[in-house]
Symmetry: C2
Subunit: 195 residues, 2 copies
């Protein structure tokens, strides 16, 4: 996605070989026009899939998620992250490990918002090791619903999440795939979109 | 705002005299079409105010915030909430007490995203005691920027936040004002919109 690649090039800050900071348009400050285009692009890529729910995780997934949901005219559910949780029978819970923060969180979705037969598109801002995406997918499956696919704004393709998700049979659509952040440079994995 | 009142009546769950649960369209599952209308209504109410930044707080403020920002074609910044924080000189920090959770959080905004001369619209999903709104306003003022106003999706008008903010000179626009949740019933503070 050309507009997004330009943003990454112009505003992304390479903090290390592993970490790209995109807080000027995705993670802290957000560009609403870009987010709208991101939503449109996800819907274009998953056209014909008859999606009736969009699922994301707080906080940075909410903006691309709500724009995708708007384009689909379907509800967005955002999973909540919590350190620990009293057991309750009205929520689905999955444990998600964050390599960045080196901590586990419980992610939760109210059972009333995810039902057998639902066709769910998972949206997230970043894909690295795939922990969050796998956690969201397990929640969809706990509900007896179907994961139609996983839409990612920026994939760090040098980390294993994308490959692992595809090996499990999930369709992953990443709007931008980064092959490397070495030497302080962003190298994209696929240049077919042009830039 | 008629559409929003209808949602509150049809889907809001009165948990106690103090607590209204709106997790089917605002706090967990979100209705993107409603959020778009909410954004439009905020922009209509603050028309002519020359706003160049929208500021909200994670997580439930992000959806109404990004829709407002889209309508204004201005960036959205969402303040991050953290339990505790190492002191850093590149962020504005304010302490915010949550009466609901009975805990304090630090809320933070990167200094590079808020500058003197900025005209900032603060958006949040709920207004009760006003702690979050005051914290956001103090961050805007730390930056030397101006609070144009505060847009709230649902105000619990029987709690003091709205009055306290107005006493300090802030313009508060709440799309729905709830006068009471007594006897398991939602009573609206102003019926002038009709329903």
């Amino acid at each position: 996605m050309k507009l997004l690649k330009e943003k990454v090039i112009n505003e992304g800050i390479v903090l290390s070989d592993q970490v790209l900071k995109v807080d000027s348009f995705l993670n802290h400050q957000m560009d609403p026009i870009l987010m709208k285009e991101v939503g449109r692009e996800f819907v274009r890529r998953f056209e014909g899939e008859d999606i009736n729910r969009v699922l994301t995780i707080e906080s940075s997934g909410i903006a691309p998620g709500i724009m995708t949901a708007l384009e689909l005219e379907a509800p967005l559910i955002f999973a909540r992250k919590q350190k620990s949780l009293t057991l309750r029978d009205d929520i689905f819970v999955e444990k998600v490990y964050s390599f960045t923060k080196q901590e586990s969180n419980e992610i939760t979705v109210a059972k009333k918002f995810m039902k057998p037969g639902d066709r769910v598109l998972i949206i997230d801002d970043f894909l690295a090791n795939g922990e969050a995406a796998f956690g969201l997918a397990r929640i969809v499956e706990q509900a007896g619903a179907e994961v139609v696919g996983i839409g990612i704004v920026i994939e760090k393709a040098f980390q294993p999440g994308g490959r692992l998700l595809q090996e499990k049979g999930y369709r992953v659509e990443s709007l931008v795939r980064i092959a490397s952040l070495e030497n302080g440079q962003v190298t994209f994995a696929d240049e077919e979109d042009g830039i």
